[in-house]
Symmetry: C2
Subunit: 112 residues, 2 copies
DNA sequence: TCGATATTTCGACAACTATCGAATTGATTA
DNA sequence: TAATCAATTCGATAGTTGTCGAAATATCGA
């Protein structure tokens, strides 16, 4: 019986472009946005905007701005459900960034 | 005979503070700086400013600025030797950041 | 439809930053 | 000491971005 050709294993992250890498790093480099990501991660389930807002000392307009940044950087997914929006981490994205960063350190300790 | 208390093993990365994490991410979030880091990493040995400058389309003043940023973020070490300055990656720093980032993704895929 | 609630958009402002040329500092060499 | 070369500092500028209040948009419930 014909064995199906081995497909791409689970989810090959597909090397990050420089532009995308920069976009991710910029999105992560704001403390509020990072805190927001942490809230989403800790929630373990889609986080509503109201809950997100409760964890940050910022105005709703500012939260909306940061959500847009995180979304367009591809770090989160926003499920829009009527009046409410729910935030989840996009899996694998950070892993791609981590790969790029660890590649920088592959060459051990150059003679100082 | 008194056994010396077990010392801290090689180099415990010592959890990154939020401020430091943000500083690192900001330093990495500039494309020129990232390219500079890549040059340093690829060199495998301390990189002179002149060589660094050759790899980037920027003025010397701008390079100097970026070097200062990377240095004060703790990402590189600058050995000043007379007229010349040599750049090396500080080992382990990126690894600390990587740990923080991967901690965000520990919780797998929340129900979208 | 009307009012309440959730989120976004708009307009503005302040702070920050990347960039450069010119001037400066510091070290080497003639 | 004078000239030269490497790198930094200074001053200025343009572009970016985080922040907010107010207004707009969208959804839901009465």
């Amino acid at each position: 019986m014909p064995v199906p050709a081995p497909q791409k294993p689970p989810a090959k992250p597909a090397r990050l472009s420089a532009a995308r890498r920069t976009a991710l790093l910029k999105a992560l480099a704001d403390p509020r946005r990072f805190a927001l990501l942490e809230s989403i991660a800790k929630a373990g389930c889609p986080l509503g905007c109201a809950q997100a807002l409760a964890t940050l000392p910022i105005a709703a307009a500012t939260l909306s701005h940061h959500i847009k940044e995180l979304e367009s950087a591809g770090l989160i997914h926003v499920r829009r459900e009527g009046k409410f929006h729910f935030l989840t981490l996009r899996p694998g994205v950070l892993q791609g960034l981590i790969s790029v960063l660890s590649a920088l350190e592959t060459i051990p300790t150059p003679t100082t």
